[in-house]
């Protein structure tokens, strides 16, 4: 299985039931948070999922982390079905996949010392001798740019950027194959963001780890990702290599999203495509293509037929009736 990707997601779906009444609860509908998405992440690469709030990108991350059970579909990490794992294989999986979250103020336990926070994945999932743990933690801390002596401190003694470094050290200490980065820099200051992004890029080159980057900031995505997938209302609408996607977006939603992004220089003037209205509710998503009510290219069939994902030249896939 030389070509087995680190992460493979097939037809992943998560519907949250919507209930009514307090005593005699009955299910009256479903929030279709994630609705049949497929993608894969190769070893040593970064796949970014971009989309606006409520598009299902965080639910996707939770499904991969086994924090939610899928309604249907499968997640394979290293060829193994994540949601069918048990016992030893499950704890093995928990060391293989790690996560770094957005807010380093709430993601680190305030009453644990840095030493214990970073060592946690090793202590819980692997029987590693205490002396080795100490050594690994010290090595990891200096790799992420902290001093090994700082292991005795508590999270509140660090700044935001340093806390995110602690989170990265903790994610990397068990030698994972995949790290889910859920908005890893959006809570940080501009000058600190560059530090953390550079650190993550360097660590990937050094350790060959794969990243699944959940982000809404497009420029961050362009800098960090090898491949980008665009999500809208629980569906993947487009996926391509980063350069291809940014230079030639095909799906009308991707085009609108890109045109709305802020420029890096006052001389960059984009032709703005202002989308009418707001993202519809995922409880009753529009029929056919979910983007059709806001799409300026919508045709009669868009309201009726769900567009299939088509693969074009260069592995560029798009789900739209225009192609």
């Amino acid at each position: 299985m030389a070509d087995e990707p680190v992460l493979r997601v097939e037809g992943l779906t998560k519907h949250f039931p919507v209930t009514e009444g307090l005593l005699w609860m009955k299910v009256v509908g479903a929030v279709k948070a994630v609705d049949g998405i497929s993608f894969s992440v190769q070893q040593g690469e970064t796949l970014a999922i971009v989309g606006e709030s409520g598009c299902g990108k965080t639910t996707t991350a939770k499904l991969i982390l086994r924090l939610e059970e899928p309604t249907s579909g499968q997640v394979f990490v290293d060829g193994k079905n994540v949601h069918a794992l048990a016992g030893h294989e499950l704890s093995e999986y928990r060391t293989t996949v790690q996560a770094v979250f957005q807010d380093p103020w709430s993601s680190l336990p305030p009453r644990m010392r840095v030493q214990d926070i970073v060592a946690e994945p090793l202590v819980i999932n692997r029987s590693v001798p205490a002396a080795v743990i100490k050594e690994r933690v010290a090595a990891m801390l200096s790799r992420v740019g902290l001093r090994p002596q700082q292991a005795a401190l508590y999270p509140h003694e660090f700044s935001g950027g340093q806390r995110q470094r602690i989170a990265v050290a903790s994610a990397l200490v068990s030698d994972p194959k995949l790290i889910i980065l859920d908005e890893p820099v959006s809570a940080l200051d501009v000058s600190i963001r560059a530090q953390i992004m550079n650190l993550l890029v360097d660590l990937q080159r050094e350790y060959g780890v794969s990243y699944l980057l959940i982000a809404h900031h497009l420029a961050t995505t362009r800098y960090m990702a090898h491949e980008v997938a665009v999500m809208y209302l629980g569906k993947l609408v487009e996926r391509a290599r980063t350069k291809t996607l940014f230079e030639n977006p095909l799906h009308p939603y991707t085009k609108a999203l890109f045109s709305a992004a802020l420029p890096a220089h006052p001389d960059i003037v984009r032709q703005e495509i202002i989308l009418p209205g707001e993202v519809p509710s995922p409880i009753n998503p529009p029929s056919g293509c979910r983007f059709h009510p806001r799409c300026s290219y919508a045709m009669p069939q868009c309201a009726e037929v769900v567009p299939e994902e088509k693969t074009l030249a260069g592995g560029h896939t798009v789900a739209c009736h225009l192609y």
């Binding site: 606006e52 709030s53 700044s159 950027g161 200051d189 501009v190 000058s191 600190i192 963001r193 560059a194 530090q195 992004m197 550079n198 809404h216 497009l218 420029a219 961050t220 995505t221 362009r222 800098y223 350069k243 940014f246 609108a256 999203l257 890109f258 045109s259 709305a260 992004a261 802020l262 420029p263 890096a264 220089h265 006052p266 001389d267 960059i268 703005e272 202002i274 989308l275 707001e278």
Partner: protein, 339 residues
């Protein structure tokens, strides 16, 4: 109607707002000067803790009292010094002549009143009028900020609206008394990309209709590039560089501005490596005597650590505080910053 950059409407001179805490004096705003003209958009950019929000609050004398006090300076609005006004007079300035849009619409709207009530409350302070005509004005304001079905929406509570819609309502309240200056403190940080674009366009339209002056407080150079005519960059309580937006982007003079611009990724080009500024800003209660950026600056020399650089003029209102702009340094060969 196109917007016309007119006379200076708000002028701030040497403003100092200090916070007096148990642990010492925090110099949040430490000698800030700038001005805005009618119809102009000024961006104040900086990272958290640089004093940009405290500057914004000070303009309306809304700094958190009693901890924070404006200890020195002049804030001149259409020629009148706001710092000499009584609290009663200030109430007639807030909302009517200068108003404010805050970052988080979730917290700036009151959850237990309908948005119509909250709009009317703002309008009422400045227009003594009957209930029905106030309501009419409220609906009109909502329409102005492009809220669909405004007649129905006035009866909604904030929780019935989306984030973008709520921020529009906050905008409607801000413009309800036809102010001449709007201070927008990170108004789009909490919004999604496409909603942010809608909102920025709306602000631009309102500015074109009424020739408002807008002061944008932000950490995002993208917002500056899109919206602002002029920029002031703040670091550790002071403006270290200011000037026309294109001058700042094309020829940033201060090493901090240069580093900041090089540390931002772009979605329009491939960047091999981002410049990263190591270290952190100094604590505002324990500031160094010299340039506040010296500890992180790749070009810092003895002089930088010893005394604070004066303002050097580059051209056309582009100024910066950095010793490397002094005539003596200009002639030395080693000053160009490599990103």
């Amino acid at each position: 109607m196109a917007r016309q950059i007119g006379d200076v409407i708000l002028e701030v001179e040497d403003l100092h707002t200090y916070c007096f805490t148990r642990w010492g004096v925090v110099k949040a705003v430490d000698g800030v000067s700038f001005s805005v003209r009618e119809g102009e958009t000024l961006g104040i950019v900086g990272e958290s803790g640089c004093g940009k929000t405290m500057t914004a609050l000070s303009l309306l004398r809304l700094q958190p009292r009693p901890v924070a006090r404006i200890v020195h300076g002049v804030i001149r609005l259409q020629g009148e010094n706001l710092l000499e006004k009584t609290e009663r007079e200030m109430r007639r300035v807030r909302g009517r002549r200068i108003s404010m849009i805050l970052q988080d619409p979730q917290t700036s709207l009151n959850p237990v009143f309908t948005i119509g009530n909250q709009l009317i409350e703002a309008i009422k302070t400045h227009h003594a009028d009957g209930r029905s005509s106030l309501l009419r004005r409220a609906v009109e304001r909502l329409r102005q900020v492009r809220v669909a079905a405004a007649e129905r929406r006035v009866r909604d509570y904030p929780h019935q609206m989306s984030g973008g819609m709520k921020q529009r309502v906050v905008g409607a309240i801000a413009i309800s008394c036809e102010p001449r200056v709007i201070i927008a403190d990170e108004p789009t940080t909490a919004l999604d990309v496409t909603i942010q674009a809608q909102y920025l366009r709306l602000l631009r339209e309102l500015q074109e209709q009424t020739n408002l002056a807008i002061i944008f407080i932000t950490h995002d150079f993208g917002v500056v590039a899109k919206m602002c005519d002029r920029v002031a960059v703040m670091y550790a309580g002071r403006i270290i560089e200011q000037g026309p937006v294109r001058d700042i982007f094309n020829h940033p003079a201060h090493p901090y501005t240069q580093a900041l611009l090089h540390s931002v990724p772009s979605m329009d080009e491939d960047i091999q490596r981002l410049y990263s500024i190591e270290g952190q800003p100094p604590a505002l209660w324990d500031l160094p005597p010299g340039c506040r950026f010296a500890a992180r600056c790749p070009h810092a020399e003895e002089q930088c650590r010893e005394s604070y650089p004066p303002e050097f003029s580059l051209n056309d209102g582009h100024t910066a505080h950095c010793w490397k702009l002094s005539p003596e340094w200009q002639t030395s060969p080693s000053f160009a910053l490599k990103a």
